[in-house]
């Protein structure tokens, strides 16, 4: 590593440690920010000599990264940005902090995937899904798929692990047909992790025709784009690998969604030569991910935290949550997106029959939504009020980003 990079890396580690010691944060961003100021190529320098996997998509990337890091851990030490700091500053911090490791598994914000591919020259990239998320500042879904595709075309040597169930992802992972012999098609391994949210992929990104669906199959009515046959699938609480072997996957994380994330993690690890047989037991050790799924007992209530940031992830949260009293909390601060209209893209009907409490800066937006949805609810001003309003037992908490962080702070920064 060049001297400048060594200095930058050391400053980065020190700043992160100071930030943690001062109680100002978990140090997962500040260190990288300082390091990159000193050496703009620091991320590339820190990546050199490591076999790297990137994980990107709208939803599930933090959890999948955690599971994939556990799976790749079969082979040796793995650097990872496990606090969800998923932009280049976070990657820089994570690699600097980890020191020299043979492997790294990095979660990447979907807007930064092209840039991080350039800097880290990964061995494999996992593409999970693309759906609407904070449209008041994020790129539109079709545009994001186009950016991914352009980045992957420039790096045909990267292996891709991609979700066969999401038309936008399949299109991004498949380069345009070309008669130019010099263009090598990428090596793609397809997995099926399901797609609950279809409302961003009714129109074919290739030709603009309608996409039809039947069961798990989908196909474009105007061009050859269709669901590829997945090599990795989820079946009956387990994962089926490309040889057809079935592995029971026992997780501490709730919901079918996370079995899908486990399948993705196993497919990614297999690109490094990890056998599912060796990796599956390690997945069961993952308990919570940056506070997500964490359980805390407070006044006789077992509180579980679920993060839901956009319509697709709300549907997933309903799948994960138990039939128990449920607190919903909504903010619309900068990191959440300022616009709450997506609440009407979510069908809250699965909550009927549960005791529902609402809170957060934008609880009234949620109140109007639930009213139209015929879901009875009670508005509470504070987290403590919510605790007191439910009987002893489980309380599920589903919150969007800053609302989630607020409640996590109440529960003493659980991890």
């Amino acid at each position: 590593m060049p001297l400048r990079a060594k200095v930058a890396s050391s400053v980065s580690r020190t700043a992160a440690a100071l930030s943690r010691a001062a109680g100002r944060g978990d140090g997962s961003v500040i260190g990288g920010w300082l390091g990159l100021k000193i050496d703009p190529d620091l991320l590339a320098h820190l990546s050199a000599g490591r076999a790297i996997a990137l994980v990107s998509g709208t939803n599930g990337k933090t959890t999948t990264t955690r599971l994939a890091a556990a799976a790749v851990g079969v082979l040796g030490r793995v650097a990872t940005n496990s606090f969800g700091a998923n932009m280049p500053t976070g990657h820089t911090s994570a690699l600097a902090k980890a020191g020299s490791t043979p492997y790294a598994v990095l979660e990447v914000d979907e807007h930064y995937l092209a840039q991080v591919i350039e800097a880290t020259e990964p061995h494999v990239v996992a593409l999970l899904n693309l759906s609407r998320d904070q449209l008041d500042r994020a790129k539109e879904v079709a545009m994001m798929a186009q950016l991914w595709r352009a980045a992957l075309i420039r790096h045909p040597d990267i292996r891709i692990v991609a979700n066969a169930d999401d038309p936008m992802v399949v299109w991004a992972a498949t380069p345009p047909a070309s008669h130019d012999q010099r263009i090598v098609p990428p090596h793609v391994t397809w997995f099926s992790a399901g797609q609950r949210w279809h409302d961003d992929s009714w129109v074919c990104p290739e030709c603009g025709s309608t996409i039809q669906r039947s069961g798990e199959q989908w196909w474009c009515t105007g061009c050859p784009l269709r669901r590829p046959d997945p090599q990795w699938t989820v079946d009956d609480e387990g994962v089926v690998d490309p040889t057809g072997a079935w592995y029971k996957v026992k997780l501490q994380l709730p919901g079918k969604v996370n079995v899908g994330n486990a399948a993705t993690a196993l497919a990614l690890a297999a690109e490094f030569g990890v056998r599912p047989f060796d990796a599956v037991p390690r997945l069961a050790d993952v308990t919570s991910v940056a506070g997500r799924y964490a359980q805390v007992v407070r006044d006789g209530r077992t509180v579980r935290l679920l993060l839901a940031k956009n319509p697709a992830s709300w549907l997933e949260a309903f799948d994960m949550a138990d039939e128990a009293p449920t607190l919903l909390s909504i903010n619309a601060r900068d990191p959440d997106g300022l616009d709450t209209s997506w609440l009407f893209d979510v069908d809250f009907a699965p909550l009927r029959g549960r005791q529902v409490l609402i809170t957060g800066d934008r609880a009234y937006d949620l109140a109007v939504r639930l009213d139209v949805n015929d879901v009875p609810f009670q508005h509470v001003r504070t987290f403590d009020e919510a605790i007191q309003a439910v009987p002893p037992g489980r309380l599920e908490v589903i919150a969007n980003y800053t609302a989630f962080q607020d409640i996590r702070a109440e529960l003493d920064r659980v991890n």
Binding site: W202, W342, V368, V372
Partner: protein, 240 residues
Amino acid sequence: MSTETLRIVWIYPDLLSTYGDRGNMLILARRARQRGFPIEVLEVRSDQALPTTADIYLIGGGEDGPQALGAQRLLADGGLHRAVAQGSVVFGVCAGYQLLGTSFFAKGTQYRGLELLDLSSDRGETRAVGELAGDIDARLGVPPLTGFENHGGRTRLGPEVSPLARVTAGIGNDGATEGAWRGKLLGTYSHGPALARNPALADLLLRWATGAQQLPPLDDTWADRLRAERRAAVAAAARP
């Protein structure tokens, strides 16, 4: 109403449903049902023919490509023009508002609109993103508009339409006026589920569709609280 049943059509949700546009359909349906109107709600995709006998048509927001495609298909279909000629109500939001006019810009190209409203839209220099508020045309008898806008368009109104509102916060058409209406056609830049924050506007559309002079009041406690909270937030943001 054309029949005993109030028929609501949501036009092309496969193309024009970017952010919560479904909300307008759900809110109209619920408010009609609560007043005892039998209702029928139909979602018509862009590869289907548009029925011409519905009472209310809703068009939502969308990205540039789907907006252009939606306008082309509606022009080719012709059903909406026939429905309007028969007196149907149309409510257009954002991209759906623009395409009711004579022309709009998408992907750097000018497209022909449906020419149902005398207005035309082009690109502004900046994107309008944020809270939108305004005082609604007094003839409509509706309290102030509150909403959220997210669009890159600027819209010029012709003499045959009236502005829906005078802007008090945000941009709307051009920073001075917001939305437009003529007869039973109404459009707004207040995007997504605009009727969630403006239940009186929903009732205006229902009165137009049913011919009722008045509708029984409903319990709008939560919508009223939401409106008051948004009004306070806009006022707080405007203070120096």
